[in-house]
């Protein structure tokens, strides 16, 4: 049986990169040690959603993904969405709504919302809940996050409807 190389190559935030890794290393651990610390370690068992990244545009828990599983794939982290100086619309809206308290869950929330906005054409409550059901927040009670998200989604839906005409 041919031994596998102890490296992994994938596209990270638009750039093709190769990393040294071990078979047992989780994608979350690799990302954080490589400086992508916006992706948070929360529960470590696929429940809280703070480690959410996009793998080929789908939201996944990076704590439940071996780094090797990302071979050849497209990985996006919160760093690709916005920065402190240049936040995304949803990030701005979260701040406006006072929806960020401890803030630990927010990067994961934003990644799930990103996949929602990029994948769906319309944003009925049921669909939104489907995309956001894997992200927990222990501070806000969700109301303010939901409010911020709804504002952005309504704008996004209007934009998509206009484009479709």
């Amino acid at each position: 049986m041919k031994k596998s190389p102890q490296t992994v190559t994938f596209t990270l935030n638009g750039e093709r990169k190769t990393f040294i890794t071990e078979p047992d290393e989780k994608l979350l651990a690799l990302l954080r040690r490589e400086g992508y610390k916006g992706t948070k370690f929360g529960c470590g068992q696929g429940t809280c959603g703070s480690c959410t990244v996009l793998l080929d545009d789908r939201a996944v828990y990076s704590c439940l993904l071996y780094a090797k599983q990302a071979e050849g794939r497209n990985v996006r982290t919160i760093e690709s969405v916005g920065t402190y100086e240049n936040p995304s619309e949803f990030q701005e809206e979260l701040v406006k709504n006072g929806a960020v308290q401890c803030g630990y869950c927010i990067p994961g929330m934003i990644m799930s919302a990103t996949s929602l906005m990029e994948t769906e054409e319309t944003f009925e409550d049921e669909i939104v809940k489907e995309y956001m059901d894997g992200n927990l927040c222990r501070c806000t009670g969700y109301e303010k996050i939901w409010g911020a998200l709804r504002t952005v989604l309504d704008k996004e839906a209007a934009k998509k409807a206009k484009e479709a005409k």
Binding site: M1, S4, D24, T52, L55, R58, A59, L64, S112
Partner: protein, 281 residues
């Protein structure tokens, strides 16, 4: 399970040979979400089978063939006229898990709370297992005991064939949970075949609050040949205790679980009958 090696064979037969050679130290990896929680003292080798073209859903005669490494979210999003698998996939775990967890991973090693075996039993699905060549197993046979035993010698589950629902066949499922992402307290699935309002055949299966997913023959017997009325459904659901030992868990007594099962069966039957009545082709 601690991994000391991670390999990606180029073909199905190579994957089978690798797994056979590795024996108990090898593990086929699809979504891999369960691997993180497996209590195995010996470190092992993951054999990645996700790049072998086993992720698809296609119509084949009277079946929908679902590749073993198809993520649950693909099944959830798939729509077709004689298809009902999306209903239960929507209720499994969270969005992030559904995006990576596969149908094969869910049914190769069955945990008591697994939902898909319940649905596949009710639907009389067929499981395709590769061991040099493909062999087909009916759901009753496949889920008669822990399926993991079938894969000890390198065999690989390659696909699941779900029958397309014919005219006057209806499907209904109920998953009772404490919250959206929690494991099931009780899962019920039912397929009814109606002739007018007469029940020609019934398949009802249950999982979670019993030791292993199974069909409920006493419930089925109380339905077959009867009229599809709420009273008949109620009497049939009351047979749940005759088929399985309902266990108390998460603060619920066995009596409560049994009642929850009966109510869930009643609900699943009502849904299946409504579904069947609306389908004349």
């Amino acid at each position: 399970m601690k991994l000391v090696e991670f390999i990606r064979p180029a073909s199905l037969s190579a994957a089978r040979d690798n797994l056979r050679e590795l024996g108990p130290n090898g593990m086929a990896l699809a979504g891999g979400t369960a691997l993180h929680f497996m209590q195995q003292h010996k470190p092992g080798t993951a054999v990645d089978i996700t790049r072998l073209g086993l992720s698809y859903i296609r119509e084949e005669g009277d079946f929908y063939r679902i590749g073993a490494t198809t993520p649950l979210s693909d099944i959830q999003r798939y729509r077709a006229p004689r298809w009902a698998m999306h209903e239960i996939c929507r209720r499994i775990s969270t969005h992030q898990i559904r995006n990576i967890s596969t149908i094969g991973g869910n049914i190769c090693r069955v945990f008591p709370w697994a939902d898909l075996p319940v649905v596949l039993l009710a639907m009389d699905a067929k499981m395709i297992v590769y061991d040099g060549q493909e062999e087909e197993f009916g759901a009753d046979d496949y889920f008669s005991s822990q399926p993991a035993k079938r894969f000890l010698d390198g065999q690989i589950l390659t696909a699941v064939k779900v029958p397309s629902l014919q005219a006057y066949h209806g499907f209904g499922s109920v998953k009772a949970t404490r919250n959206a992402a929690a494991f099931a307290l009780v899962t019920i699935a039912a397929v009814l075949e109606l002739d007018g309002n007469h029940i020609k055949s019934a398949r009802v299966a249950a999982g979670s609050a019993i030791p292993f997913p199974r069909r409920l023959p006493s419930v089925e017997a109380a339905l077959t040949g009867k009229e599809a009325t709420s009273q008949v459904f109620k009497e049939a659901s009351e047979q749940a205790g005759a088929d399985a030992p309902w266990r108390g868990r998460e603060g619920m007594t066995p009596a409560y679980t049994k009642q929850l099962a009966e109510v869930s069966i009643l609900d699943a039957l009502e849904r299946a009958a409504t579904f069947a009545r609306g389908r004349s082709e």
